[in-house]
């Protein structure tokens, strides 16, 4: 190619005649490689080369923009889906520990369970079962573990019903079934739920991190294209002595505009997703964790009483769970003040329960508080107040996460599917602009 470089300017007017005779040597040599080389020969050849390069780059830019947008949109969609799944799994967890808190508390009152508590237990377990089916559809990767979880819940439910049947007949073996049920939940079910929570938290993190990555595609594709457009325009201007090739410049403008709009939009979506992550999403996580730990603490309060004096391990578990509630409520921030107050009210009753049972040896008095028979110090009522209020806040924040992520996604310009048409348009403009110059060589 280099040896022809000096020739073109001189042969500009003489170009058409050789163009007419071109097919002849082509046919003679019948060498395709020679034909390609000839096609790129001289100024028109270089024009063709630039045409192809710029047009191809336009299409690649279109692809990159589309890729960048669909990657970011996909990450936003998946972040939304995965946070929804995480909230679902946390709800399963909450329902299970809340059912177990009912069951262990019912043990303290014996066979005569309060109907409300029984209904709450049944509803919690039913809600967990429904959520498991929902979660298995929403995230196929979780299906195996959810299946295993379902199996443990069948065992758990069976043991609870056996415990009740025996309790109703006044047979002490009922308590053993209850103990076994509790250990199935603690040792078999909850580790599965914890594995699910971990896996989904990881997925949410991955997707939140991925939202910003789409920007790189758009910016890299756009900048590279603009460089090539600039080189092409500069070369054309020098070679043809025209300042501006309007169609090609228009193509460059389209690329620039798309890059700027796309980059700004993606950066905006990514930063609003980041805000959601550090505000509502974190608050949702903290609230879920606080609720789970609270139910855990409540179960352990009952278990400590059930163990009647040999429940040190349960009491320690209560202390750990209660500290976890405090820690998580601290992360909830502003709206957590009311919750902290309700939680402290429950903790105060718990302290009285422990004093009655541990220090005074007044087990019956402690149980009266724990099952809500003591109206002044009512562990049931104070806990319910915390439960209801925290549940309300959790619903609010998790809905906010969903709608904010949806807004971020819906606010994106439709470059995901417009990217390729835009690239093709730019390529066509390049072809048009270049063909105007190529015409002059006919």
């Amino acid at each position: 190619m280099t040896q022809t470089q000096s020739a073109p300017p001189a042969t500009v007017p003489a170009a058409p005649p050789p163009g007419a005779s071109q097919p002849a040597p082509n046919a003679r040599t019948a060498n395709p490689r020679g034909a390609v080389a000839q096609w790129f020969e001289g100024t028109p050849g270089r024009m063709r080369a630039f045409l192809i390069l710029a047009a191809a780059m336009s299409v690649v830019f279109g692809l990159a923009a589309a890729q960048g947008f669909s990657q970011s949109e996909g990450a936003l969609d998946r972040a939304q889906a995965n946070t929804a799944q995480l909230v679902r799994i946390q709800a399963i967890h909450t329902n299970l520990v809340s059912a177990n808190a009912d069951a262990t508390n019912a043990f303290l009152v014996g066979g005569l369970e309060p109907p409300d508590q029984r209904a709450h237990f049944v509803n919690s377990l039913a809600a967990a079962a429904g959520l498991i089916a929902e979660a298995a559809t929403a995230q196929p990767a979780d299906r195996d573990v959810l299946g295993a979880l379902n199996k443990t819940l069948i065992t758990y439910g069976g043991l609870i019903e056996q415990a009740r049947a025996n309790n109703r007949q006044g047979l002490p073996i009922g308590s053993q079934y209850l103990k076994d049920a509790n250990s199935v939940l603690q040792d078999d079910s909850l580790p599965l739920v914890k594995a699910l929570v971990e896996a989904n938290e990881k997925r949410v993190d991955t997707e939140f991190d991925g939202i910003g990555k789409g920007t790189i595609w758009v910016l890299a594709g756009g900048l590279l294209s603009l460089v090539i457009f600039a080189i092409t325009l500069r070369w054309l201007a020098r070679r043809t002595h025209r300042y501006l090739n309007v169609p090609i410049a228009a193509g460059a403008a389209i690329v620039l505009l798309t890059t700027v709009i796309g980059g700004v939009a993606l950066a905006g979506a990514s930063s609003s997703a980041k805000d959601t992550r550090s505000a509502e999403y974190d608050r949702t996580l903290a609230l879920s964790r606080a609720r789970i730990a609270a139910y855990d603490a409540r179960s352990n309060e009952s278990l400590t009483l059930i163990a009647r004096g040999s429940g040190d391990a349960f009491d320690k578990a209560y202390t750990a769970a209660a500290a976890q509630v405090d820690e998580q409520l601290g992360k909830v921030g502003g709206s957590g003040g009311n919750l902290q107050r309700l939680w402290t009210a429950y903790k105060n009753v718990h302290t009285k329960v422990r004093t009655a049972d541990g220090t005074e040896g007044n087990w019956d008095g402690a149980v009266a508080m724990a099952v809500g028979k003591n109206t002044a110090d009512n562990s049931v009522a104070t806990f319910s107040a915390f439960d209801a209020s925290s549940n309300q806040q959790l619903t609010r924040t998790s809905t906010a996460v969903q709608s904010e992520l949806k807004d971020a996604r819906d606010g994106l310009p439709p470059i995901g599917w417009l990217g390729i048409p835009i690239g093709i348009l730019a390529a066509l403009l390049v072809a048009w602009g270049m063909s105007q110059r190529l015409e002059e060589y006919r």
């Binding site: 080369a49 192809i52 390069l53 191809a56 299409v59 690649v60 692809l63 990159a64 890729q67 669909s70 990657q71 996909g74 990450a75 998946r78 889906a81 303290l108 009152v109 014996g110 066979g111 005569l112 995230q139 990767a141 979780d142 299906r143 195996d144 573990v145 295993a148 025996n166 309790n167 006044g170 047979l171 002490p172 073996i173 009922g174 308590s175 053993q176 079934y177 076994d180 580790p191 599965l192 914890k194 594995a195 699910l196 896996a199 989904n200 997925r203 991925g210 990555k213 163990a307 009647r308 004096g309 040999s310 005074e360 040896g361 007044n362 087990w363 019956d364 149980v367």
Partner: protein
């Protein structure tokens, strides 16, 4: 240049592949398998002083009469000062020590013994439920709960067999009931004795004399353990154990809760029950012995037996005769 286009397209497609929604399946967490400790139990220790296992400390002139004033410095005075007797009991051995699911009260033959001891120290024990703190303990926790340095129990009434091995760790009252080990099987089991149960799984509480006796009686049975007697009954009802070996008192409670179980008639050991007390309080042991003797003499023992066991085990036998002669090592 043309060649680069498909190449670029291919790389673009390749890069698209990352960051899609195909996640690796969530892993089912591996179960923590508790280490299978195949510890061979230590050989039972003999009585250090060569006395018979049944021999307890004889009451002496310093032992106060139940209901009277407790001598200063004695453990009874300490209990009185505290305001309540702390007893380690079972809450799941039907008729011995169990929690009535309907009333929520722990009751049974063992609990009657505790109540009598409490009444000996606190005359108002019958009317004031706070005079006794019943601590529910598991079978393996009986001796540790007495020897605990912080917050130990005063007395254990949890169908505990008196033997020399345990005398090395704790003291016993005089015998208050003579039980014996039997084996429970499903009602359609053709076995006539424990010898016929080779190869079958039989449950006994961990750390109990029943477990040792069972292995001695027929080493070919597959022994499994649970934490409590009732734990064994649950395993039996779930088909995880084909039989339960234990004291006839406990098995009587099991049969009462499960009509598809029967107790084989063969009785292969003597299980004299005693109340467990710390070795450091011999004066309390002597006091408890006085209380037990009073119960046996004035018919309260028989009343209690009739209430809890007559239905399952037949007419009341003669209460076991107290054996004394052991001299406390401490004080």
């Amino acid at each position: 240049m043309k060649k680069l286009i498909p190449l670029a397209a291919a790389t673009a497609l390749l890069l698209t592949a990352c960051g899609n929604g195909n996640y690796a399946a969530t892993q089912i967490p591996a179960k923590e398998t508790p280490p299978t400790t195949s510890t061979t139990p230590a050989a039972p220790r003999p009585c250090a002083d060569g006395q018979s296992a049944l021999a307890s400390y004889a009451p002496d002139a310093e032992t106060p009469a139940p209901g009277g004033a407790m001598p200063a410095g004695s453990w009874m005075a300490k209990i009185k000062e505290r305001g309540r007797l702390i007893a380690g009991v079972s809450a799941d051995s039907f008729n011995l020590g169990y929690r009535d699911p309907i009333t929520g009260k722990i009751q049974g033959f063992d609990i009657d013994m505790i109540q009598a001891v409490a009444k000996g120290i606190f005359p108002d024990a019958d009317t004031n439920p706070n005079r006794v703190e019943l601590r529910v303990i598991s079978s393996p926790a009986r001796i540790p709960s007495l020897r605990d340095t912080k917050n130990p129990v005063d007395i254990v009434a949890r169908n505990m067999t008196i033997n020399c091995d345990r005398w090395n760790d704790i003291a016993f009252s005089a015998e208050y009931y003579r039980s014996g080990q039997k084996t429970l099987v499903q009602s359609d089991n053709p076995a006539k004795s424990t010898a016929d149960l080779s190869g079958q799984t039989v449950c006994a509480p961990a750390g109990s004399t029943s477990l040792t006796n069972l292995k001695e009686k027929n080493p070919k049975v597959k022994a499994v353990t649970a934490d409590t007697d009732t734990g064994c009954l649950v395993m039996f009802q779930q088909g995880k154990a084909q039989g339960i070996s234990g004291d006839d008192t406990v098995l009587a409670g099991d049969v009462a809760q499960d009509p598809y179980a029967k107790v084989l008639p063969e009785r292969f050991s003597d299980e004299p029950y005693g109340l467990g007390i710390s070795l450091t309080h011999p004066e309390f042991v002597k006091f408890v012995n006085v209380v037990l003797q009073q119960m046996k003499d004035d018919g309260r023992w028989k009343t209690s037996y009739d209430k809890w066991f007559a239905l399952a085990l037949g007419k009341a036998p003669v209460p076991p005769v107290a054996v004394y002669g052991r001299v406390p090592v401490h004080g």
